[in-house]
């Protein structure tokens, strides 16, 4: 009950946060000294050419209008639905849609981020727990020391070393790209729907039956949750009926015209599994291994320290001693009591570290020629392509905001105290 209200409130809170974020990006890119167009051409263009460029990009409009266009472009749902990506303007270099380029680069970054996060948290939390349990022993000092060293290693240096060892010398693993250029990228799951039978009436009938079923399920759920039967419930069930009816009708019409359903995540390891192609899975996994290990190991240092400190603090709390005094098993005390509580601040920090991970991802992607958002931004910097840079920065911002939203909801889920 409390959790739901918390989630709704937290989601509402992201709106001002996002607005703030977008404004700040706008301020940095437009208000900071330095004219993007002049910087882009690096004095190699005539004033007329530059003026024309400004006109194409809308930079000749007043600042307020630019700001308005920029925000509207981002929240334009219609544009998003028809194009499949938001309106982030046109690239100064290629005159292509920045949104499209970014959306095609993003899954690569997401995949890298997810895998390295998993590696970092598994290594970090495991070693952190061990270290705190063996406080002030040789093991503790070793773990702590290696964690500190990891923190001091530039991520691209580790990447280069990995490339040198596993790629150049040993030839075990690929040192770049998401999948070998000779292999077709995995396509994901494709479901071929049987050609539609029956006529118009058939569809109407089918969709209304579907609507009835859904609203019946909805009523049953309300009944289980002890909601009193009244006008509100009737209204809800009617709304549900119409919604599912229209939805089903639309879907069946859509599938009739498409006749195949395509499910693809953009994450090669998952798509290849969906496709059922183990070879592609192995290939993409091998390509992913070095970059995600690089990033994961670098980040694990922070996780070790975080886990260790929080565990040490928690292990001293009364309820841990109290649990021991009740004769609970050592493992129960460590994991269900200490780690479960120490995990909450770790979770918060994980959210913040995610931002750091994305920073590291830029360097890792550059090192491994990983075609993600990070490499995109670096390439565009070389062309001084400011619309693209701005778009990529916004995308990073959205991603971070989403992650922090998820983290906060998870936090509330794990900590009963916050749901007050």
């Amino acid at each position: 009950m409390g959790l739901r209200i918390f989630i709704i409130r937290r989601i509402l809170l992201t709106i001002p946060t996002l607005l703030l974020l977008l404004t700040m990006v706008f301020l940095v890119m437009r208000v900071l000294p330095g004219d993007p167009v002049a910087l882009h051409f690096e004095k190699r263009a005539t004033p007329e050419q530059m003026e024309a460029m400004r006109h194409i990009l809308g930079l000749d409009k007043p600042l307020w209008t630019q700001y308005f266009d920029y925000i509207v472009g981002l929240v334009d749902v219609n544009y998003f639905v028809t194009h499949g990506y938001p309106d982030l303007g046109k690239s100064m270099q290629t005159y292509e849609e920045v949104g499209e380029q970014i959306f095609s680069a993003f899954p690569a970054t997401l995949e890298l981020a997810i895998y390295s996060m998993i590696i970092a948290s598994v290594i970090g939390i495991l070693l952190g727990v061990v270290s705190s349990k063996k406080y002030n022993s040789v093991i503790d000092h070793l773990i702590r020391g290696s964690g500190t060293v990891t923190y001091a290693v530039p991520v691209f240096f580790l990447g280069i070393v990995f490339q040198l060892i596993f790629g150049v010398y040993l030839h075990w693993l690929p040192t770049g790209l998401r999948i070998s250029p000779f292999v077709e990228p995995p396509s994901g799951l494709t479901i071929y729907l049987s050609p539609p039978s029956g006529g118009f009436l058939y569809h109407v009938l089918l969709s209304s039956i579907f609507g009835l079923v859904v609203s019946a399920i909805c009523l049953a759920i309300l009944k289980i949750k002890h909601v009193k039967f009244g006008l509100k419930v009737i209204f809800i069930s009617i709304a549900v009926f119409f919604a599912s009816w229209i939805g089903y009708a639309y879907a069946s019409w859509y599938f009739m015209s498409v006749r195949q359903l395509h499910i693809s995540t953009g994450l090669y390891t998952i798509d290849s599994l969906l496709e059922g192609n183990l070879f592609k899975f192995v290939e993409s996994f091998k390509a992913l291994l070095l970059p995600s290990l690089t990033l994961g190991i670098i980040l694990s240092g922070i996780f070790v320290r975080l886990t260790r400190t929080n565990m040490l603090e928690t292990l001293r709390l009364d309820f841990v001693t109290a649990a021991k005094a009740r004769g609970l098993k050592e493992s129960t005390v460590t994991y269900a009591y200490a780690l479960r509580n120490a995990f909450l601040p770790i979770l918060t920090m994980m959210g913040l570290q995610f931002a750091m991970l994305l920073g590291g991802a830029i360097l890792t992607e550059t090192t491994f020629s990983w075609p993600g958002l990070g490499r995109y931004i670096v390439q565009r910097i070389n062309f001084r392509d400011y619309t693209a840079i701005q778009g990529a920065v916004v995308m990073f911002g959205l991603f971070v905001t989403l992650v922090s939203l998820i983290v906060d909801i998870l936090y509330a889920y794990f900590d009963p105290r916050i749901r007050l």
Binding site: A322, A325, G327, R340
Partner: protein, 328 residues
């Protein structure tokens, strides 16, 4: 009536090695406790009373180590038990109640989980449902609505949480309950309620109780026997009546004279001069001599040992040595 010894502690010593030196938190403590008896451990902060209490559970906090002595529960020396065997004593034979009820329950677990976990750890064959029922009965005895068993700790007030802690302590009907300042964090009215509850339950379940407190009034009111601790040492050990009527150790004497009594008017209080010793650098000889009005030459040089002044009244003070003691 046959008195059965439940707990026997013999020349116990506990050290905390720190980076700035060794703190001798508990030194040369010996006493025994019979079944069903109540014993009070009185002392100021840093007197080692909590360390002593925790050592009976073998839970002396890091970096403390028991360097000497025996702790016997029902004739078994618990210092020789394996961690696994010791675990089965904690909570089942000896239970512990902590000072701060706000922090001694796991904030992310429901009350029911605390109970079920405890019961099923010690009686693994108990089905979940039965454990839950037993927990509800315990709550009812504590004056808490059994429906609230599915609440989280933060939904209870301090007094209620301390009741729950007591419930967890008595749930398996242990032989000994150690209550470490169980009411210090609570207001007086709640304090009285909690202490009454503890006393009643103790009588019903026939448990022995060790009550640790800095407040001598509480201990005098509630305990049969008292140990007064000073700087890790047992200064005095006596029945509460005798301790109040005829305190032997100068520290006990001073302590009793510095406690205000609400029942008396025009009471004259006097303080013990000086302050408790720095445990990293305690005075040589008797730790109390710098504050003692009767300090003699010998007190600065030699540490007195516990002597019996009759009726199992023990005191660690040179004033009660029969003949002169040789100064080495």
């Amino acid at each position: 009536m046959v008195k059965l010894t439940l707990l026997e502690i013999d020349s116990l010593a506990i050290n905390y090695p720190t980076s700035s030196g060794v703190v001798r938190a508990v030194e040369d403590v010996s006493f025994s406790l019979n079944k069903g008896e109540t014993l009070g451990l009185a002392g100021e902060s840093g007197s080692g009373k909590s360390t002593l209490g925790l050592s009976i559970m073998r839970l002396v906090p890091y970096p403390g180590v028991i360097v000497n002595g025996h702790i016997k529960i029902d004739e078994t020396d618990i210092l020789r038990l394996s961690e696994q065997e010791m675990r089965l004593i904690r909570g089942r034979k000896v239970a512990y109640i902590f000072q701060d009820p706000m922090t001694s329950l796991n904030p992310v677990k429901r009350i029911s989980a605390h109970f079920v976990e405890l019961i099923r750890t010690h009686e693994p064959k108990t089905p979940n449902k039965e454990a839950l029922e037993r927990a509800k009965t315990v709550l009812k005895n504590l004056g808490i609505l059994p429906e609230r068993i599915n609440d989280y700790p933060h939904q209870f007030s301090g007094g209620m949480r301390q009741r729950i802690m007591i419930g967890l302590a008595i749930a398996l009907n242990p032989d000994l309950v150690i209550a470490d300042e169980p009411t210090t964090a609570l207001d007086v009215i709640v304090q009285a309620k909690i202490l009454d509850l503890l006393e009643n339950l103790r009588k019903i379940y026939r448990m022995a109780l060790i009550l640790i407190s800095h407040d001598l009034s509480i201990i005098l009111e509630r305990c049969d026997r008292i140990i007064v601790m000073y700087a890790g040492h047992m200064a005095e050990y006596a029945t509460s009546l005798e301790l109040q009527k005829a305190p032997k150790h100068p520290y006990t004497e001073g302590l009793l004279r510095s406690i205000p009594n609400i029942e008396l008017s025009d009471q004259k209080l006097s303080a013990i001069p000086g302050s408790p010793p720095n445990m990293l650098d305690p005075p040589k000889g008797c730790p109390f001599w710098p504050r003692c009005p009767y300090a003699m030459e010998i007190c600065r040089v030699k540490e007195p040992s516990l002597i019996d002044v009759g009726h199992n009244h023990l005191v660690k003070c040179f004033l009660y040595y029969k003949q002169g003691v040789n100064v080495e």
